[in-house]
């Protein structure tokens, strides 16, 4: 999986910069490379926010087309992927608003959920809890579990923990402050852990 790696040395360019320059010079194949590199990640972000497969597909297409059209506006003082995520998040939120007939949906809303940041279920997990479920069943559990979190928590978890973006890049991509990203990440991690404990707890007696 492509993750945004810090570039060693101040004179070294991020590889995306060269691709963007080629696209600006009219090389559409270079844009295809950027698409192939990031389409999976963008699809997952869109799916996390919209929770609708068709909408997520449309978001991927709209986000890449919009980024292509606006490429002249990309300054290069942020990373291409961070800039792309910002476009994808905005497109996803627009889709979500349309589904919810105009109701405001925002990533920067600081949702106070019942599950705060204090763990309540302290049961330990079975040694290899995934082994108790088929791949299909496990994926269903993981999707259902993360779906229960607010959209802003889901996206922060995806960007930081799954895609490996830094806290600063996540904050920039989502237009959030660094403390807001940290707070959402902690609560997302603890809430997911708590919810997964229902499935993965060490069972007394015979394991399934």
């Amino acid at each position: 999986m492509a993750t945004i790696q810090p570039i060693a040395g101040t004179n070294e360019q991020h590889p995306d910069v060269a691709l963007v320059e080629r696209v600006r010079a009219g090389d559409v194949a270079a844009y295809d490379e950027l698409v192939r590199k990031y389409e999976r990640q963008v699809f997952r972000i869109a799916q996390h926010i919209t929770q609708n497969r068709e909408d997520a597909e449309d978001v991927v297409q709209d986000a890449f087309l919009k980024a292509y059209e606006k490429l002249e506006q990309f300054q290069g003082n942020s990373k291409f992927y961070t800039w792309l995520v910002r476009i994808a998040v905005n497109e996803s939120l627009m889709r979500l608003r349309r589904r919810r007939t105009g109701k405001m949906v925002s990533i920067d809303e600081d949702v106070e959920t019942e599950e705060g940041s204090v763990p309540r279920d302290l049961a330990d997990w079975a040694p290899d809890p995934e082994q108790n479920y088929s791949q299909t069943e496990l994926n269903r559990i993981l999707r259902k579990t993360i779906k229960g979190l607010p959209p802003g928590f889901r996206v922060v978890f995806e960007l930081r923990d799954i895609q490996g973006l830094s806290t600063e890049d996540t904050a920039e991509a989502l237009n959030l402050s660094v403390p807001a990203v940290k707070s959402r990440l902690l609560r997302a991690r603890l809430q997911l852990r708590e919810r997964l404990t229902r499935y993965f707890r060490r069972r007394k007696g015979v394991e399934k």
């Binding site: 009219g26 559409v28 844009y31 295809d32 698409v35 192939r36 389409e39 999976r40 699809f43 997952r44 799916q47 996390h48 497969r53 997520a56 597909e57 991927v60 297409q61 890449f64 087309l65 292509y68 059209e69 940041s117 204090v118 763990p119 302290l122 049961a123 330990d124 997990w125 809890p129 995934e130 496990l138 994926n139 993981l142 999707r143 993360i146 978890f157 923990d161 799954i162 940290k182 990440l185 902690l186 991690r189 603890l190 997911l192 852990r193 997964l196 404990t197 993965f200």
Partner: protein, 75 residues
Amino acid sequence: MTCSEFLALLDDMIDSTELRTDLKEHLRCCEHCEVTLNTTRKTIEIYRSHQIYDMPAGLRERLHAAIMARCKKGC
């Protein structure tokens, strides 16, 4: 160190392999915090190792076609 103080530092601990002495000390005598730290790490690991949202078949081709169509209108 209290459990709340420990949990406030949880994020810093998730990825670090070497814990500060006071954190190690707390873990040694607090089973609850040890379980929380280990299962939170495991939560992240499980989500990292499973693709819960697969790219739909044909999306790449549709995307490519849409970009090429847009390009023909003027790159």
